[in-house]
Symmetry: C2
Subunit: 184 residues, 2 copies
C-alpha cells in the first residue's frame, strides 16, 4: 500500500510517502510543508491545506497516517500542532482516503521494536529499512516517513479491525466493544 | 459589521451571526453544527467544514470570531475542540474573511463588564443586548452569539491595532514589540 505520513506542525509539517508491505518499505518521497510565523494562524492552516492537497494530488496515497497529538504535549505549541493534524485528517477525508492516527510509541515500536527508542535510533532504523545511507532530512520528514512505514506495516491488521468494527455496527459500550473483539 | 461567532466543538459547534456596532447588536441567526460521535474524527471535521461553508455562504460575514482554545482546557476534549477551531479559521481564511480569536474572559468582559461573569450572567446580558426574552439555545449557540457581539464591539479597536501592526512590519523581538506599541 502507498501511505502518506504526516508529522503535524505549523512551522514545519513533515510529509513522507512510502510503499510498503509488512516487513518491507520503499521511500517514494519526503519533504516538509513550511509556513511563516509572520502569518496569522488562519492563513498558516490554509497554506498547510494547500501543501497537503499538492502532496495528495501528486501521490494519491491509499492511506494517510497522522501522528496523534495529546493534550499533554508541549503546551506552547500543542494547539497549533493539533490544528495542523486536524487539517491533515480533513484533507484526507475530503478525498475519501482513510486517515489514521498513530502515537509516537506505536511508530517507535513498529520501526525499532521498542516504544522507547530515541530519535537517533528511529532514524537509523528508517534508513536501514529504506536501504538509504541516512534518514531523510529534516527530522520532521524522517518522522513522517517513520509514521508511513508504521502504518504500512500495521495497516493490514488495522484494516481487519476496522472491517470487524464496521461489521458489528459500531458497538458503543465497553462491553459491546469487548464482545465484538472476542475478548473475554 | 456582520460577525459570525464560532464556539468550537466536535459534537456541537455553536454558530451565532450578529450585526453590531459598539454598544449595539442585533441577532441575525444562531444555531449549532452537530457531528456524530460514531464517525471518525476526520469525517467529523469534514462535516464541520461543510456546515461552516453553508453558514458563510448564507450570511457572508465581514469577520469570523472563534473562541481561543487553550492547552489547559479540559484535556479529554481539548484536541478535538482545537481541531474544530482550526477548521473554522481555515474556512474563514479560504474566503478571505478576517478570522480573529477571543478568549472566554474577553467575551465575558465585553458582554457583561466582568471577565469572571458566569454562564447565566452572560446569557442574561446577551438576551438584554439583543432585546430577546431569553438567550438563544442551546448554550453553544448563545456562546457563539456572545463571541460575535464581543467582536463587533471590539472589532474597530482590533482592526486599528492590526493596521498598526502591519504598518510596523511585524516586529519580531520583544523589545521591538514594546517599541512598536510605544510602551516604555
Amino acid at each position: 500500500m502507498l501511505v502518506m505520513g504526516v508529522d503535524p506542525g505549523l512551522t514545519r509539517c513533515g510529509i513522507g510517502v512510502v510503499i510498503g508491505t509488512p516487513g518491507r518499505a520503499e521511500l517514494v518521497s519526503a519533504g516538509v510543508i513550511r509556513t511563516s510565523p509572520d502569518l496569522d494562524i488562519a492563513r498558516r492552516l490554509l497554506q498547510i491545506e494547500a501543501g497537503l492537497e499538492e502532496w495528495i494530488a501528486a501521490h494519491r496515497p491509499d492511506a494517510v497516517a497522522v501522528e496523534r497529538v495529546f493534550a499533554q504535549h508541549n503546551v506552547t505549541t500543542v494547539i497549533g500542532t493539533a490544528q495542523a493534524a486536524g487539517v491533515a485528517l480533513l484533507v484526507a477525508a475530503r478525498h475519501g482516503i482513510p486517515a489514521v492516527q498513530h502515537t509516537p510509541s506505536e511508530v517507535k515500536a513498529a520501526i525499532s521494536g521498542s516504544g522507547r527508542a530515541d530519535k537517533a535510533q528511529v532514524g537509523t532504523m528508517v534508513a536501514r529499512i529504506l536501504k538509504l545511507d541516512a534518514a531523510p532530512k529534516p527530522a520532521d520528514a524522517a518522522d513522517a516517513v517513520a509514521l508511513a512505514i508504521c502504518h504500512a506495516w500495521r495497516g493490514s491488521a488495522s484494516a481487519r479491525l476496522a472491517a470487524a468494527a464496521e461489521a458489528t455496527a459500531r458497538p458503543r459500550t465497553w462491553s459491546q466493544v469487548v464482545a465484538a473483539r472476542g475478548v473475554s
